[in-house]
């Protein structure tokens, strides 16, 4: 009935003082603080993370023109390991994990038993029996409870592992310059370990994957937290002549929107946080239906998803919108025939790469699904203490909003 305290009392007592620091620094914080000219912080899962560091517009262009360094350490990370790790993850997540080869990454999602999405995230297969699951929210009880009957261990390693995203057209050149020999062999969603010798023992490694959240050429790097600063310095030194810049979330958010990627608890509400029952979403309702693999055997939520599909109980759809004009339509209401309220825009921006006004919206089916014409958004643009109300035509368009050949090009461009 009751589990013994799983943390020894002395370590527990030592940790008491956390109450004095409500927003933790990440392992990269000394470097980020030194670059934080705007001092524009937000709370990312209990960490002090930058909205911007020097100029959010220019930070965005660093992603698209040079190489941008973004600290992803606050992302929740679970280490999942054991002979049954593959079977366990196949049971928990939507996609077929047996098709995920070792040293590969895939974007996936997982649902509760009612088929509602608990979160989306990336699954790194570090070895045949060892995985890392990265996500926005925390899921330890769900993972541990689901692990019963599987020979697998699940450990939260958010604090132990530091992460960096290096994104942009010169990202590869920066890594090559930094001496990560063989990194040119990484195709999109590949990962590999590379030596990173700053520790006295000199045998520490950095895991580099060709992944990212920008739709651009890019990589993500993971190291033990104590190696974080030396990795940062290594990249910054190597990237100096390649225009490397550290960036904050506002710039990244713009890039991810162009890439058509969604953010949990921003574009949809995760099921463990949804207080109102009508806010729950099935994968098909947030554009993740493609992940659902019905061939692979049972997984959490499968029955409910099948039933919802069969009985047409899917009430929402997440779509990309292209909106007339250039005024971002953030959180605007979407109308059918300018009068019937059919949905809400969760994220919107002017896309410099597409030269279009883009948005992600959740609509009530069949709007956005079969009824795609005559959709409008009402934009309330505050200008000098007055709302300029605009009714603009919106067109449902496929995501991503931009496709960059350099994201997938092999070998990656070296400049």
């Amino acid at each position: 009935m009751t589990r013994q305290l799983n943390i020894n009392p002395s370590a527990r007592t030592l940790a008491q003082s956390h109450f004095r620091t409500l927003r933790l620094g990440t392992p990269f914080q000394p470097r980020i603080d030194a670059l934080a000219k705007t001092n524009d912080w937000y709370n990312w899962a209990g960490y002090r993370a930058p909205h911007s560091l020097w100029d959010e517009e220019l930070e965005y262009f660093a992603i698209r023109n040079q190489a941008a360094l973004f600290d992803i350490s606050p992302m929740t990370k679970y280490r999942i390991e054991g002979p049954d790790a593959e079977a366990f993850l196949n049971r928990v997540t939507l996609r077929d994990v047996t098709k995920l080869k070792a040293r590969r990454v895939h974007y996936t999602a997982w649902c509760d038993d009612e088929g509602f999405v608990l979160d989306d995230g990336t699954l790194f297969r570090l070895s045949p029996t060892r995985f890392r699951l990265c996500s926005q929210e925390r899921h330890l009880p769900w993972l541990l409870d689901s692990a019963k009957g599987f020979d697998v261990t699940v450990e939260e390693e958010t604090e132990a592992v530091a992460g960096l995203a290096l994104q942009g057209p010169t990202a590869f050149a920066v890594l090559r310059e930094a001496g990560f020999a063989g990194v040119e062999n990484l195709k999109v969603f590949d990962l590999a370990d590379f030596p990173h010798d700053s520790s006295p023992q000199g045998n520490s490694q950095v895991t580099i994957s060709r992944t990212g959240f920008t739709g651009d050429l890019g990589y993500e790097l993971f190291v033990p937290s104590e190696q974080a600063l030396s990795l940062w310095d290594r990249l910054m030194a190597a990237g100096e002549l390649r225009g490397i810049r550290a960036i904050g979330y506002t710039a990244l958010n713009r890039a991810r929107l162009e890439a058509g990627l969604i953010v949990a608890n921003s574009d949809f509400v995760t099921s463990e946080h949804a207080i109102r029952a009508d806010r729950l979403r099935m994968p098909d309702e947030i554009g993740l239906g493609f992940m659902v693999d019905l061939e692979k055997g049972h997984f959490n939520g499968r029955r409910a998803i099948l039933e919802a599909r069969a009985r047409r109980k899917l009430r929402h759809v997440l779509v990309g919108l292209e909106i007339e004009g250039n005024i971002p339509a953030e959180h605007a209401i979407v109308y059918y025939r300018k009068s019937q309220e059919v949905g809400l825009i969760s994220a919107a921006t002017w896309s410099p790469m597409a030269k279009r006004n883009i948005a992600i919206a959740s609509l009530a089916r069949s709007f956005g699904d079969t009824i795609v014409d005559d959709l409008w958004v009402e934009i309330y643009a505050m200008r000098e203490l007055q709302y300029q109300k605009l009714m603009k035509r919106a067109k449902v368009v496929p995501r991503p909003f931009i496709r960059l050949d350099r994201r997938t090009a092999n070998p990656p461009a070296d400049f």
Binding site: T2, L5, P9, H18, L22, R138, P141, A277
Partner: protein, 539 residues
Amino acid sequence: MKAWDAIVIGGGHNGLVNACYLQRAGLDVLVVEKNAWVGGAATSRELTPGFLYSNCSYVCSLFRPEIMRDLELPRFGLQVISYEGGAVFTRDGDYLANYRDHDAHRREFARFSRRDAEAYDRYARDVTRQCRFIQPLLMRTAPDPTSFRPRDIGELLYLGRKFAGLSPEEMALTLRFWTMSISDFLDEYFETDVIKANFALSGIIGTALGPMSPGTAYVLLHHYMGEVDGSVGAWGYARGGMGAVTKALAASFQASGGTIRTGAEVDHVMVRHGKARGVVLAGGEEISGKLVVSNADVKRTFLKLVEEKELPDIFLRRVRNFKIRGSSGKVNIALDSLPEFPTLPKDSPVYRGDMHFTDSVERMERAYDDWKAGQWSADPFLDMMIPTTLDPTMASPGKHFMSCFVQYAPPKVNGRDWTDADRDGFAESVISQIAEYSPGFRDRIIHMEVRTPREIEAEVGLTEGNIFQGELTFDQLLFNRPVPGYAQYRSPVGGLYMCGSSTHPGGGVMGAPGRNAATEILRDLAKPKQHMSPAHDVI
């Protein structure tokens, strides 16, 4: 002889809320209070020079903001200040704190269990969902399911629609939640003893049940459905002690022309031809009133203040069987200086919150076992607070008032009445528990007031000292509170109404029973109710 439009028996918070609303509707209202002061169980009393004691209720969250606004209570001095955190001390020399910051809260729980730390969000989601189901019911009169009046049918439909609005899973959870034990409920989320104990305490406060008794999950909800200025579930201190609530109510009442008579104990309600005509005071003085509203609990009202012959037999039987069981006591202490808890860092916000020493559900249940055996708990459960860490008005700088709510204390000790020696023994069980965690605690004590169910009943008038005027178990809620068929604040005696916590939606310094009763009275009198703002939306 003057006939008042309404006489309210008892100047507790619900009596005063009721009186305020009636007076503001244009009635000429008299409040009669047996004590020399108003306040009932929401008082601030200077029991030793220089120290104000919140000597009954001690924290505020449930009090409805609509009432504060309608009755202009801020103008009459009421301020409720949110406090931060609290802690359960563990026997191994550590503590588990509650912090307001979500991430600090998670990190604190992770010191004990990473799993339980991450289970908190789902727990909070489910409790919040249940709160949202209940909140809109607080300021509505419960429907009478046996009546076919359009209004009752409408209210039943409202309840039904709210219930039907839940998903099947939520319906199941709601039904379980209203009936299950807090211990079983917590087992579905957490596995660490101290973390469960931390939450379980809200399920037993004021209740003659243990954490393993069915029905205690709802009691937890009752403690979560309040707010401080929109922050749902938050608790605060009333600046100047809980008496500030009733002091502001009394001032608001008097400012609108109402009359309060203190030191006026009601002996009985005058009933002629089945209708209340006024009250007779203990000294024999008769006061006429066109209607009488009792803020006293249902047992005191109908077993002591109304003659048996005026009441139907089945009603009386149900009143007698209504559970108002004494389960708690209070130890109020004036301190020469702030107690130290070596475990707790000196800059910890926990000093400003609620502190507890019961670090497992099992210990809580054992404390309840003593109660069942007719004894006070040898190892009691304490809800201990030092409001003077935040409130500068209750003691001079550096001095402190400490409030200890203590559970369990039986209404009778081994079947006999409490003696002074029992009371001292009860106090010692409390002081020795605190002193175990706070060396030198005894030396800081300047003055102490010890209240067992005997003292609380004698002074405040709550039967058996039950703080909720009746337990908050599902069989005594909604249209069953206090008695089926009489859940709409009326009674078998014409013109005699109930407005205390024995009625829906129950106890705590909430004011909702007082206001809801006023709504029903004004409805009977066909008086306008524009001065009652609608209940806040729950969106």
